[in-house]
């Protein structure tokens, strides 16, 4: 397997965890009265961002010549995911709420790792092109 493929595989795995996790084991809670807050919509946005990252990772695996550019596109996509819970879309205010104690830290770590992997992938791909 080519070395430049490894970061794409890592991003694919991370983005799948993000997408599935945001709606299941890492997702926000539903309030006691059945309603949901802004954190619910933050998780919906994260689902979209995870799917986008996954699509970019699959394309990077398939399209060898465009790989460096696709890795470059993954960097702002990961940054967007990093900023979504809390900064772009508000979460619950109490630190003991599920979205604050689980969703946000988990998504921050996952998107930060994806960003790092994308950066490494871009550097490796660029070196390969030279």
């Amino acid at each position: 397997m080519k070395r430049t493929c490894i970061p794409a595989i890592i991003v694919l795995v991370l983005s799948l965890i993000v997408a599935v996790g945001s709606q299941t084991f890492l997702g926000a809670c539903v309030h006691e009265d059945g309603s949901f807050g802004a954190c619910h919509w933050a998780c919906r946005a994260i689902l979209g961002e995870g799917a986008l990252l996954a699509a970019l990772a699959v394309l990077a695996l398939v399209l060898k010549r465009e790989r460096a550019g696709l890795y470059l596109a993954m960097i702002p996509a990961s940054a967007l995911g990093l900023l979504t819970p809390g900064a772009l879309i508000a979460l619950c205010k109490m630190p003991t709420m599920r979205c604050r104690m689980l969703t946000r830290p988990a998504m921050t770590i996952l998107f930060a790792l994806a960003l790092l992997a994308a950066l490494v992938g871009w550097l490796l791909s660029r070196r390969g092109e030279k």
Binding site: H31, D33, C92, M94, T96, R100, I109
Partner: protein, 399 residues
């Protein structure tokens, strides 16, 4: 190329083998650092709770199911409301051996402004209180006035903001220091404010389940006189005051301390097992690595590298792998523990307060050194085995 770069070149030449060794040492470091931080946080949490509750005895209504719901209220911030007639306070104060008796009244809000969760409201008597008041005074020394509240560090409202409880507007005057317990999610007010909130709660249909119509309190915190036996005072209170339960605070701490000891013991056993396993795997891995590379080492020996030089070469490789693994392991454990502090605290259900930065740095440094030492031990053992083989024979048998 000088021999100084040989260990780095060797490690980079076989990335799979290097990655496996680094991963193994990272596992070691992560288990030690992560486990130590969690156990350290639990210990600090218990110390913090003991410091906050200086009471010898806590008197509460018999309906409070003695310690169970009360313990949850303190440790996990579970909302609860149980009441007894305020005349219990006078009865407690009249008991022999009681130095100070301070009342507290609890009320669970229906819903905080921000989220769909209830917040515990605790009314204190600033004149008599000796448990919460010193803690509040660390952040606010003027004393809680009418409709003024102090909030735990995990309550969203900040100083200067208004908190609406049962349609009553209260003014936040202080945000309290973290304790790692359920006290962090509570709101504190004086008894006059509490009476208004209780009346507002009644208006909303939340009853106190008391029909006497007189003032109500939820608990009395008792400090016994010097020389008095807390056990005797506790027995007297249980025997002479009807419909209440007196619980010694120490017994509550002992329960928590027992749970903590159990967790600490399990963590120690787990960490020990991981270390023993990792040490065995490292020894086997190094033995296999040396066996695989014996021709390479034999050539080096025939080229004039001394036994000592060869040992240094192996130890340098081990040290590099160990250092990288230890740093990665500590980093991974930090990522797995620190962002999820609140989650761990909620799941464990015990007081949890992260150690001070200095302690954390010491723990991290100690973990790196210990991991490095184990790696070097395995490397030294492999090097000692290698030094006993004859390079000429090795090359001949491999030809």
């Amino acid at each position: 190329m000088g021999r100084a770069h040989l260990p780095v070149k060797n490690l980079l030449r076989k990335p799979g083998r290097t990655a496996a060794l680094v991963l193994l040492t990272a596992l070691l470091a992560a288990s030690v650092f992560g486990g130590s931080v969690v156990v350290g946080s639990l210990r600090r949490g218990l110390e913090s709770l003991e410091a906050r509750l200086g009471a010898d005895i806590i008197v509460m209504p018999a309906e409070a199911e003695s310690k169970v719901s009360f313990k949850n209220l303190l440790l996990q911030g579970t909302t609860g409301a149980f009441y007894m007639d305020a005349s219990v306070l006078d009865a407690v104060r009249g008991a022999q051996g009681v130095e100070i008796a301070a009342p507290q009244t609890f009320l669970a809000s229906l819903k905080a402004d921000c989220c769909a969760i209830k917040v515990q409201i605790i009314g204190i008597d600033p004149g008599a209180d000796f448990t919460v008041k010193p803690w509040i005074e660390e952040s606010y020394s003027r004393g809680l006035g009418d409709m003024e509240v102090a909030v735990g560090c995990k309550v969203t409202a900040g100083v200067g903001e208004t908190l609406k409880i049962y349609e009553q507007y209260t003014h936040v005057v202080a945000k309290l220091a973290e304790t790692g317990t359920g006290l962090d999610t509570a709101v504190y007010c004086n008894m006059d404010t509490m009476k208004k909130l209780l009346a507002a709660a009644e208006a909303k249909g939340v009853t106190h389940r008391l029909t006497s119509g007189s003032d109500v309190i939820s608990a009395v915190y008792v400090k016994v006189k010097d020389g008095a036996d807390p056990a005797q005072v506790n027995n007297w209170l249980n025997g002479h005051i009807r419909k209440v339960t007196a619980v010694r605070a120490r017994s509550m701490f002992t329960d928590v301390s027992d749970s903590l000891s159990g967790i600490a013991r399990a963590a120690r056993v787990l960490i020990g097992a991981v270390w023993a396993l990792a040490l065995v795997i490292l020894l086997v891995a190094f033995a296999m690595m040396i066996r695989e590379r014996r021709r390479e080492f034999a050539v080096l020996r025939l080229l004039g590298v001394s036994r000592r030089g060869l040992r240094d070469e192996i130890l340098a490789e081990t040290a590099l792998c160990g250092l990288a693994g230890a740093l990665i392991g500590v980093g991974v454990a930090a990522l797995g523990v620190f962002p999820f502090t609140t989650l761990i605290e909620t799941q464990i259900g015990l007081p949890y307060l992260t150690p001070a930065p200095g302690t954390l740095l010491t723990l991290a440094g100690g973990t790196v050194l210990a991991t490095l030492a184990v790696g070097l031990l395995a490397g030294a053992w492999a090097a000692a085995r290698l030094s006993r083989t004859d390079p000429g024979a090795t090359l001949r048998e491999g030809a």
